[in-house]
C-alpha cells in the first residue's frame, strides 16, 4: 500500500489540478471576504476617501453596526425582505401542484378522440366569438382560442410532453427581460392586468349595488359560519390524530396556530392593538392545545414530539390564506355597499405602498411555479415506488389519505431542499426586481436588504456602512440555514 513517501507527490498533483480554482478562490472570495470584514469597522465613505481628498481611514469599532440597528428604515427593509419571502410556501405548493398535474397527464393515455373533440369545440367557439364579438374581444379570443386548440392537440398527440416547456418558460427567461415586461403588465392605465380587472370589478360593483343587504349582512354571517365549521373540524381532527398517536404536541400547537392566526388578524382589523391581538391569539393556541394534550391517550406510547408536524405545516399553508379571506370578508363585508357607491378601482400595482410587495410576490410566483423546483418534484414523484400506492389501495385509502400518507412524506427531502435554497436565496434576493421595476419604492416599500446594500455602497458611497449591512445579512443567512438543517434533519429522521 501507499506509504508516507508517496503522499507528498500525490498531494502536489491533486493541488496542481486545483490551482486555477485556488487562485480564483483567493482573489475573488477569501481576500474580498477579509477586506469586507475590515471595511465594516471603518468609516470609509467615498465622499471623504477618494483620489482627490484622501483622509486617513479610521476604525470606528462597532459604530456602523449600532447606527444600522438604530435606523428604523433598516428594520423596515429587513421586514420587506422577509415579507417577500412569504411567497415561498405558495411557490412550493404551486410547483408541487404543477408537478402532480403534469405527471398525471403523462401517466395517462388520454383517449385522443375526446381531446380532439374538445379542441374542435374550442376552435368553433373561438370562431363564433370572432364573428359575434366586438373588434377588441374577438381578436384576443381568436388568438387564445387557437393557442388553446394548438396546445391541446399537440399535448394529446405527444402525451403531455408539450406542457412542460410551457410551464418552464417563465423561469427560464426570468431576468431583466421579464421584469421589464411585468412592469408594463402592471401599468395602472395601459397594463393588460388592469384592463382585465376593470370589467370584473365593474360586475362586482353592480352586484353589490343590486343587493346591498346580502353583502352587508349575508356575506359576513356565511363567512363567520364557515370559519366556525373549519375551526371545529380542525379541533376534532387534531384530537383524533393525538389519540391515534399520529400527531405530537408540536403538531397540535401548529394546528391550532393555523386557526389562531386569522383570529389575531380579526382582532387587529377591528381596531385592537397589535400586541393585544398577538397575545390573545397565543392564549387561544395554548388553551385549545391544553384541552387536547391533557387528555390521556387511550392506548399506545406517546407520539414523538414533532410527529406529524410536516403535514400540519403543509395544511396550514393552504388553510391560513383561506381563513384570512373569510375573516377579511367578515370585517370588511359591511363596508362593501358604501364602497360600491364610489365604484371599485383596480389597484395601481407598483405605484401603491401596500400593493407593490404583493405585486412583486405574484410575479415571483409566476416565475417560480414552473421552475427547477417543479422538475425536482417531477423526478421525486416518479421515484416513489408504486408498491406504496398499491398498499394504500389495499388499505382502502382515499385520494387525500394517499397524498398525505404516501406522496407528501416521500417528497419530504425534495421539499426540504427547495425550502432551504429558497430561504438562502430569498434573503439575498429582490435586487433586480427593485432596481428595474420600482427603484425600491414607493417610499421604500420594496427595498430589500440587497437593494439597500447596493444603494448605500454604490449610490450614497458609504462603503463601511454598506459592508456592515452585508455582514448582518451574512449572519442571517448563516443562522437560518443552520437552523433549517438542524430542524430539517430531525424532522426527516422520523
Amino acid at each position: 500500500m501507499s506509504g508516507r513517501r508517496s503522499s507528498i507527490p500525490r498531494l502536489a498533483t491533486g493541488l496542481a489540478f486545483l490551482l486555477p480554482n485556488i487562485v480564483g478562490f483567493l482573489a475573488f472570495t477569501l481576500v474580498p471576504l477579509v477586506i469586507s470584514f475590515f471595511i465594516a469597522f471603518t468609516d470609509w465613505n467615498i465622499l471623504r476617501h477618494n483620489l482627490f481628498r484622501d483622509d486617513p481611514l479610521q476604525f470606528v469599532g462597532l459604530r456602523n453596526f449600532s447606527w444600522l440597528f438604530q435606523q428604523p428604515d433598516f428594520w423596515r427593509y429587513l421586514g420587506n425582505t422577509f415579507f417577500l419571502m412569504l411567497g415561498l410556501p405558495f411557490a412550493i405548493a404551486g410547483s408541487l401542484g404543477a408537478a402532480l398535474l403534469l405527471i398525471r397527464v403523462d401517466r395517462r393515455k388520454a383517449r385522443w378522440r375526446g381531446a380532439v373533440a374538445i379542441a374542435t369545440a374550442v376552435m368553433v367557439a373561438s370562431g363564433l366569438l370572432l364573428f359575434a364579438g366586438g373588434m377588441e374581444a374577438r381578436g384576443v379570443m381568436f388568438i387564445f382560442g387557437s393557442l388553446i386548440a394548438v396546445t391541446l392537440v399537440a399535448g394529446v398527440l405527444t402525451g403531455g410532453v408539450v406542457y412542460r416547456p410551457l410551464f418552464y418558460l417563465p423561469h427560464f427567461t426570468a431576468g431583466v427581460a421579464t421584469y421589464v415586461l411585468w412592469k408594463k403588465l402592471y401599468d395602472a392605465q395601459a397594463g393588460p392586468i388592469n384592463s382585465v380587472l376593470v370589467p370584473v370589478l365593474e360586475c362586482v360593483t353592480q352586484a353589490v349595488r343590486a343587493m346591498p343587504g346580502a353583502f352587508k349582512w349575508g356575506l359576513p354571517v356565511c363567512c363567520g359560519l364557515a370559519v366556525g365549521v373549519m375551526a371545529w373540524w380542525q379541533f376534532r381532527r387534531l384530537r383524533q390524530h393525538w389519540e391515534d398517536g399520529t400527531a405530537g404536541p408540536m403538531a397540535v400547537l401548529a394546528g391550532f396556530a393555523t386557526v389562531a392566526v386569522p383570529c389575531g388578524f380579526l382582532l387587529n382589523w377591528t381596531g385592537r392593538s397589535i400586541w393585544l391581538s398577538i397575545g390573545l391569539a397565543m392564549v387561544l393556541v395554548l388553551a385549545c392545545s391544553a384541552t387536547i394534550l391533557r387528555r390521556p391517550r387511550s392506548w399506545g406510547p406517546a407520539a414523538a414530539k414533532s410527529a406529524g408536524l410536516g403535514a400540519e405545516v403543509a395544511l396550514a399553508l393552504g388553510l391560513v390564506p383561506l381563513l384570512l379571506l373569510l375573516v377579511g370578508s367578515i370585517v370588511f363585508g359591511p363596508e362593501l355597499p358604501a364602497a360600491a357607491a364610489a365604484g371599485f378601482e383596480p389597484p395601481n400595482w407598483l405605484g401603491n405602498y401596500d400593493w407593490a410587495k404583493p405585486a412583486l410576490m405574484l410575479m415571483g410566483l409566476w416565475a417560480a411555479i414552473g421552475s427547477n423546483n417543479m422538475i425536482l418534484y417531477l423526478a421525486g414523484l416518479s421515484n416513489i415506488p408504486p408498491e406504496l400506492y398499491e398498499a394504500a389501495d389495499i388499505d382502502g385509502a382515499s385520494p387525500g389519505q394517499r397524498f398525505w400518507h404516501v406522496t407528501w412524506p416521500q417528497l419530504a427531502p425534495v421539499t426540504f431542499f427547495i425550502f432551504v435554497m429558497g430561504v438562502i436565496y430569498g434573503l439575498q434576493g429582490g435586487f433586480e426586481m427593485a432596481r428595474i421595476m420600482t427603484l425600491g419604492g414607493p417610499a421604500g416599500s420594496t427595498t430589500t436588504l440587497s437593494y439597500f446594500i447596493y444603494t448605500e455602497g454604490f449610490e450614497t458611497g458609504r462603503l463601511g456602512y454598506a459592508s456592515a449591512a452585508a455582514w448582518v445579512m451574512f449572519a442571517l443567512v448563516f443562522a437560518l440555514s443552520l437552523l433549517s438543517f438542524r430542524f430539517g434533519n430531525r424532522r426527516l429522521g422520523d
Partner: protein, 277 residues
Amino acid sequence: MKIPPDSASTRSGPWLHLLVTVLSLLMIAPFVWMVVTSFKSLTEAADPEWLPGKLRWGNYPEVFRVIPFLRFALNSFVIAGWVTLLQVFTSALAAYSFARLEWPGRDRVFFCYLGTMMLPSLVMLIPTFQLMVHFGLVDSYLGLILPAAFSPFGTFLLRQFMLGIPKALDEAAEIDGASKWRIFWDVILPLSRPGLVTLAIFTFMGNYHSFFWPLVMMKTVAKFPLPVGLMFFDSERGQATHLLMAAVTMSVVPLVLIFIFLQRQLIRGVQLGAVKG
C-alpha cells in the same frame, strides 16, 4: 390536484388535458402580450386595448436605430461565452482532482469549497469592486469575465458526474503509462461530455442574464451587455413601450431556442445538481 399519479379513472383524461392546456397558456400569456405589443405604435402601446390596428413590423428595425442592439447582444454573447469556456475548464480540472485523484484531506477540502457557495456574493461585492479599481479592470470585459470564471457549483456538478465513470478506465490508462494529465484530457474529459454540456448551458444562461455586476462595472455604453442595455428604453429616454417589447422579444429568442434544443440536457442537469446535494 392532490390525487396521486396513477389513481382514479381514465374518464377525465381529455378534461385533464384541457385543464393543463389552459394553465400552461396562463403561464405564457405575458409573452403573448409582449409579442402583440411589440407590433403596436407608441400611442397604441399607451392604450389598454390588447390588439394593434395593424402589425408594425417596422418596430424591429427601429430598435436597431435607437440603441446599438447588435453591439449589446454581441457583448452579452462574448462575455457569457468566455465565462462558460473558462468556468467549464477550471471546474473540470478541480472536479477531476476531487473525483479521481487520491490525496490526503481531499474530501475535507471539497466540502469546505462547496460550503463557500453559501457565502452571499453581496458581502464580497464592495471589496471586489475596489480590487477591480485597483487593477484597472473597471469598464473592461476582463473585469466581468474573471470573477465568474471559477465556480464551486460547477466543480460539484462535474465531480458528481465523474464519480460515475468506472475506475477501471483510469487504471488501464495508468498501466499504459499515461500521465495524470493525459488521463484527464484523453479519458475523463471525453467521457464527461454530457456533464460538461449541462454545466455549459447553466453557465451561459446565468451569465447571459447577469445584470448586477455589469451594472456596477461598465461605464461605456458600447460595452453594455443586453440586460443593462435594455434599460435605455425604460428610463433615460422616457417610455418607448412598443420598442422595449420588440427588444425584449428579440433578447428572449436566443434563450427559447437554447431551451428548445437542449431541454433534455438541462432537465437532467437540474436533477444531477440537486438530488445528491
